[in-house]
Point group: none
Chain length 204, copies 4
Amino acid sequence: MDNDPSTTRRERRIANRRTLILEAAARLFAEKGFHRTTTRDIAEAADVSEGTLYNYFENKDELLMGIMAHLADKQHLNDRFVGDLSGDAREFLRSVLRERRETIEQSGYMLQSVLSEILVNPELRERYYQGLMLPALQSLEDHLRSRREAGQVRSDNPALTARVLIGLIQGLFLLEVLGDPEVRYNWDELSATIINVLFDGVSN
Amino acid sequence: MDNDPSTTRRERRIANRRTLILEAAARLFAEKGFHRTTTRDIAEAADVSEGTLYNYFENKDELLMGIMAHLADKQHLNDRFVGDLSGDAREFLRSVLRERRETIEQSGYMLQSVLSEILVNPELRERYYQGLMLPALQSLEDHLRSRREAGQVRSDNPALTARVLIGLIQGLFLLEVLGDPEVRYNWDELSATIINVLFDGVSN
Amino acid sequence: MDNDPSTTRRERRIANRRTLILEAAARLFAEKGFHRTTTRDIAEAADVSEGTLYNYFENKDELLMGIMAHLADKQHLNDRFVGDLSGDAREFLRSVLRERRETIEQSGYMLQSVLSEILVNPELRERYYQGLMLPALQSLEDHLRSRREAGQVRSDNPALTARVLIGLIQGLFLLEVLGDPEVRYNWDELSATIINVLFDGVSN
Amino acid sequence: MDNDPSTTRRERRIANRRTLILEAAARLFAEKGFHRTTTRDIAEAADVSEGTLYNYFENKDELLMGIMAHLADKQHLNDRFVGDLSGDAREFLRSVLRERRETIEQSGYMLQSVLSEILVNPELRERYYQGLMLPALQSLEDHLRSRREAGQVRSDNPALTARVLIGLIQGLFLLEVLGDPEVRYNWDELSATIINVLFDGVSN
DNA sequence: AATGAATGAGGTTTCATTCAT
DNA sequence: TATGAATGAAACCTCATTCAT
């Protein structure tokens, strides 16, 4: 008998199932795309019946929303860390890139699955922009502004500089998805190159 | 009677129709996505019957391929221009960014329509990478190498530096699609910021 | 402790629940139809779980049967009253119509819920005809025969005359369900008209 | 080559198909009910593919609407005939009943299929009442009023008297559907009984 | 070459029913 | 006895593709 008053075994199993389904879905969406993935595929991958899917998610679209919510949660954790101004600026960028790498290794398939739809689904796009992109841009912008005031970096327009960095990171993710080996298997050197270029420029 | 031996009126009308269909398709794919766009939608938008679609394209997938081929054609023109080493390096980047802007204004919807599928369709992805991405990366890398040899820029690893620039451009396109106003309506200043950062760095 | 030997509290609660479920079901069936009503709807309306439904009824169809049985019980009470030959014939018809009115006000929704299915379910139809319709027709026919022998009414064929009256009553119920205001809100005058027409005819 | 400008062979085949589908659907709806009839059943009965159904009707509900429209068309023809005041009153009722009989023999299954849903579908009910019931009631009421003014019949309230006749007819249809043999196989005598009762009453 | 009606495979979703708790 | 999560069959409907005209 399980008498734990906070979470019974059943409750835990259920909480788990939701996550299980979500991860199975995201993996398949990344592999074959949202539309080529059938609810049956997802059910099989998550080892539940199709009917059960609908006990956890109202419809197929809500799976995408669930994935996005998951990404947003992770993102917000990072955004808080971006607020940290201790350490020097290069070190900061280095950690951003390292952390980014880890996130992508863990849940890059979630980003991939969602990104594809974002490009062609205005409603989802808006959600993504408001919930994930803008917050990230905003905290980076704030960070840049603080660093500038501390005389650590130069930036005429932190809003635009933030776009350059975030854009770059997104773009490299795309290159990685495309299978580019330099990005996929040479991240450390790439990382160093990025820091070098962004801080010192290519000018001779 | 049209006696022009190279392209008869009929041939031109046909060539025209193919393009018409392709553009209609790309526009719809960008708006609602490949899968949410029906062949009927495309037929209506192109003002032909559904049956006629199949006289010009073997199946729906071939429309995507057609769009990609169209993008590749445009790209190759640019790649040749990237070979041009006259002018100074900043000026070169400025033209790259301007030219990029124009391309996106003219046929961004094509890129958008194709990108969404590329993210989740391995076969298409491979084609895109080989046909569009690698050539672009390669010519930029060559360009960088030449400039470096001419002592105009610094680059430890031109392959990676090329990835930084191309990645940045891709990423900014994504931000634009997401509707970010700084990227969409402030391109000139953004362009200046990019040149400034990439050449001189943000280091103080 | 309840020591009542005939019906314990528990038995009464259970009997109650059965009735509660049946009434909830009938009401929903009348509102949205048997097929558009889900077992979940019924469970919610009766404030029990779906599982509990199946402790009281073998399956959804049995709910319909239960409603029919309930109607049949009521009907049989009336049929006995139809056997009463005291009072004059007009008075008799008047009470039939009044009584009918009351039944419909109390449990018209049950009739409605069942009627819809009867029209298209041969098995149910047969049950309804044998269990409800024929008995009503038979007792009215007997009644008419008696009255005729007593010289109180004229009827060449009491079987057919009974059909005329029962048919009329059924048809008016239909008009009421259809929302006809003359039938719904003007029953007393309608009742008088019926008596007038059936006894004296419209002939001038 | 068919050069008939008004209706080509193809057009006729298509017009025909719509009717074919509608009749197949109505027949099945009457036999097993709207909800127990699958679109596949209908397609098979009409000897077309399921997809074809949807070229002629937007969805399953629209089949019901189509049936109702068909019934309304027939009804309106009769309503005009009800306007005819030549002939004596009994003769009029006799033709109404005869005509009714014929209609039911030809398309009773359509009425049956629709009636079942009308009982439990408020939207459909309203359509039926406004489109079929009210017009029928209204023209009968007008007819009665004219006859009364001509001194041919007695009626304190023609609106209610009309309800009595229409209600009776509906109710007898119900009895017929229920399989009552007196109504089904003895229509002529039933018809005579109705005329006799309604004109002369059962009073002795 | 152009049309658009016909097709039918396949997708999402619903829901009556079961059963472990 | 009561619960409600899990099930999976089956329903409606869409849509890429074909083909007779």
